[in-house]
């Protein structure tokens, strides 16, 4: 700013003043810009972290099982009605488990292995198949393919999230020599040079050398655990498959970065998973169950349907209560009520009510609706009423602002042609204020949709496995489900929680989009 004073600058003092003013202008612009950059940055970080977490929950691994629907197992004598079949989870589960035991005969050897193989699929995962068969009894006796989600820990392992491992390709194997008790050794010239180097790197970073790293060598459907290694020869313990497989293709070595005792999945389970994958029986499929299943204690089966329906029912109650009450109260206060002490007092307190912490409304709801009136706990009816109490000050304030913005000349015009005050308000003022009123109401509802705290206090945090059919049924809502899931210990809940958050955000965006649409469509100028 060191320009020579031109025709427009009268003196050095005014030039200095001008320079200061311009600097202040520029600074202010930078402050504003940086505030926006910070806000957008925070939003981007949020979107990326939640989005990337949720992405991994958008799909999951399902295993297919070819089973024969043996009538003796799934529809035994005296329990062959469709209702019995659909409830016979144990029968269907035993079919699936037997299929696994047939595929991996070594799993039948001891109790521990049987349990490990049983973990592959959750008992309740066969329920859809049971229902399908109950609906189509002609399927009994035929051979069908059952698909069930893979255990959540193994699912995470396949996604590369649960267990850290390094994959190293070994060289070609020339000879295999069996040894007693399942042990064997494989040899190939220089086949394990890469693996040895990898092991050195892996061991360097470790603090305790006491625990031996697990190294799994896989070739086709067969996997062995490394016990001893040199550049040309590896001593292995067979976990699954046949020793002969190792000569057919160069094996892949996996250095598992944590000891078996520290993991939720065992070496054998990893071996079987890799085998099933090699057989082509594991597929990665989109996780529609997130929208079609209800809550479950097993992450691979859990879905948000009951919470979504619960949220919709709750919002329905909230809308039916808060919108008419709020809008009528606003119309009365703005257009009809005389201005005096009483209405002033009411106005101040409506504004106060809007600032009351939401959990207080939960306490009120618990005391009033559940304890005093005796409404059912955990029901969308009570949740909706509590959220309506919370929302309606917001609706009143927004509606009054919208009514105030209608120019008085419209009222005067209507009154002058002989419209009564009520006709003036409902024929002219309210229709003109409608976009603003609806905007406020929907934004209030959106806030209620994301509300958790008051619903915890009226018992909507209970585990709900069934989809609520009416506002009187036990139910939960999306934000509370997110809260519950985030409290679960298992690793698999983390991406699921993120996915549920994305679904909730989608609903909120939908409501905000509706606001924009209504504004654009019905906004009128005068």
């Amino acid at each position: 700013m060191s320009k020579k004073p031109g025709a427009l600058t009268t003196s050095a003092a005014s030039a200095k003043h001008l320079k200061r003013r311009r600097a202040a202008d520029g600074r202010f612009r930078y402050y504003g810009l940086s505030a926006i950059v910070v806000a957008l940055g925070a939003l981007a970080v949020l979107a990326v972290t939640i989005g990337s977490q949720a992405m991994s929950a958008a799909s999951y691994h399902v295993v297919s099982y070819e089973v024969t629907l043996d009538p003796a197992v799934i529809a035994p004598e005296g329990a062959s009605r469709p209702e019995d079949i659909s409830r016979n989870v144990d029968g269907f589960y035993s079919l699936v488990r037997d299929n696994l035991l047939n595929t991996f005969p070594e799993a039948g050897a001891d109790r521990n292995s049987r349990r490990e193989v049983s973990d592959f699929v959750t008992r309740l995962a066969v329920l859809p198949t049971a229902r399908l068969v109950a609906g189509n009894p002609e399927l009994i006796g035929s051979r069908i393919s059952v698909t069930a989600p893979l255990n959540d820990d193994l699912d995470l392992y396949l996604k590369g999230i649960g267990v850290r491992e390094r994959k190293i390709r070994a060289g070609a194997i020339s000879s295999v020599e069996p040894a007693p008790e399942g042990a064997f050794q494989v040899s190939g010239a220089g086949a394990f040079n890469g693996l040895l180097a990898g092991l050195t790197v892996a061991n360097e970073g470790r603090k305790d050398d006491a625990v031996q790293l697990d190294v799994l060598l896989t070739s086709g459907v067969s996997t062995g655990r490394l016990t001893e290694i040199s550049a040309d020869t590896a001593h292995l313990e067979l976990l699954t498959g046949r020793v002969a497989d190792f000569t057919e293709s160069a094996p892949t070595a996996r250095i598992i970065q944590s000891a078996e005792s520290e993991r939720t999945i065992s070496n054998k389970q990893i071996a079987w998973t890799l085998a099933l994958q090699d057989m082509g029986r594991i597929k990665r499929a989109p996780r529609w169950t997130l929208l079609t299943n209800s809550d479950s204690t097993y992450p691979e089966l859990a879905g948000g349907l009951s919470a979504i329906v619960g949220s919709l029912l709750t919002m329905l109650v909230t809308a039916l209560v808060a919108m008419p009450v709020g809008i009528l109260a606003a119309v009365y206060l703005e257009e009809f009520a005389p201005r005096n002490r009483v209405t002033e007092f009411i106005e101040v307190n409506i504004n106060n009510l809007a600032a009351v912490p939401s959990i207080v409304f939960g306490l009120l709801g618990a005391a009033l609706f559940i304890n005093f009136i005796g409404m059912p706990r955990s029901a969308p009816l009570v949740g909706g009423l509590v959220l309506a109490l919370m929302t309606f000050p917001v609706v009143i304030i927004a509606s009054r602002a919208a009514l105030k913005s209608v120019p008085p000349s419209v009222r005067a015009g209507a009154l002058a042609v002989g419209a009564s005050q009520m006709q003036t308000v409902f024929h002219h003022v309210v229709p003109l204020a409608a976009p603003g009123i609806l905007t406020g109401a929907i934004l209030g509802m959106a806030r209620a949709l994301g509300e958790t705290a008051p619903l915890l206090l009226i018992g909507m945090v209970a585990f709900v496995g069934d989809v609520p059919k009416s506002p009187m049924d036990e139910s939960t809502v999306m934000p509370v489900l997110i809260f519950s899931w985030s409290n679960n210990a298992e690793r698999a809940w983390e991406p699921l929680t993120a996915a549920m958050i994305v679904i909730l955000l989608a609903f909120l965006l939908l409501m905000n989009g509706l606001v924009v649409f209504l504004r654009r469509k019905y906004e009128r100028r005068w």
Partner: protein
């Protein structure tokens, strides 16, 4: 103002009111001892005056003299203002319109009003006119309503300009057209009196001339009371003129007498531009 200016072609002769005569008839509205209070402040001090039928009476005076407040007494629009209180008698057909048992809504259907700023409803031109007849049940069916809309627009001299776009929004018209639409809207409920509160102050000279022609047309059928800041306008359109100052009625008389030979000193000072 004896000259009849040209919109007679637009006027439908099939009217509910008898044809006009030039002579001012008996008073349509008779105000006696009107006082208006805003809270404790007395805005109008004991004004008594009568408004002849089929004539234009102009209320003139400097800003804040109470002429608009007085005008709003005549259809009880002051009721809608909080803290506003009107005392005195306003007789229409021998009935005091300030009586508690007079319904202001019915009164306003007999005493129409046009405002300073054109305020058509943000609806179609048709609905703007049809609204009043609809809420008062003046039309039996769609055809009747169509006829009322056409008649009102013709009388307001707007029919030829808007007949092809009755469904277009009234707010899309020009300022002068909007004001004529508001006049048509007032006419549509078949009032006996039309109050105009500075109807041309937001309009350009050409639109103003158009409205003034219209007022001259309308005085053949209605009792018109107009508040105006423009003394030229008062002189052009009115037969009677009342000069208000500081809430008092200073002088009332025939327009020609007020403007050529005022009795009061204050009136003379005002119309010659010495204050105001």
């Amino acid at each position: 103002m004896d000259t009849t200016l040209g919109m007679s072609t637009a006027v439908d002769d099939n009217l509910t009111l008898p044809p006009a005569t030039d002579t001012a008839a008996a008073p349509r509205i008779d105000c006696r001892n009107i006082k208006v209070f805003y809270g404790e402040t007395e805005a109008i001090h004991d004004v008594s005056m009568a408004f002849p039928d089929r004539a234009v009476t102009a209320l003139i005076g400097p800003s804040g003299c109470g002429k608009s407040t007085f005008l709003r007494c005549l259809n009880r629009m002051n009721d809608t203002i909080e803290n506003c209180r009107v005392e005195g008698e306003i007789l229409m057909d021998g009935e005091n319109i300030n009586d508690a048992d007079v319904d202001p809504v019915l009164l306003r259907s007999r005493v129409g009003m046009v405002f300073q700023k054109p305020n058509p409803f943000p609806k179609s031109i048709y609905d703007n006119i049809a609204y009043g007849p609809r809420i008062h049940g003046l039309a039996n069916g769609r055809e009747d309503l169509d006829a009322i809309v056409e008649k009102s627009l013709r009388r307001a001299g707007l029919w030829d300009e808007v007949k092809d776009r009755l469904a277009a929004p009234g707010t899309g018209l020009s300022g002068g057209q909007q004001q004529r639409l508001c006049i048509a809207r007032a006419i549509a409920v078949q009032p006996e009196v039309i109050l105009m509160d500075e109807p041309c102050s937001a309009l350009d000279p050409i639109a103003t001339a158009r409205i003034e022609e219209l007022i001259d047309e309308l005085r053949n059928r209605y009792c018109i009371v107009i508040v105006t800041h423009s003394m030229q306008q008062a002189a052009r359109v009115s037969q009677r003129t009342a000069f208000f100052h500081l809430g008092n009625l200073v002088e009332l008389g025939d327009t020609s007498q007020i403007f050529t030979n005022p009795r009061e000193k204050r009136t003379e000072d005002y119309i010659t531009g010495r204050f105001g």
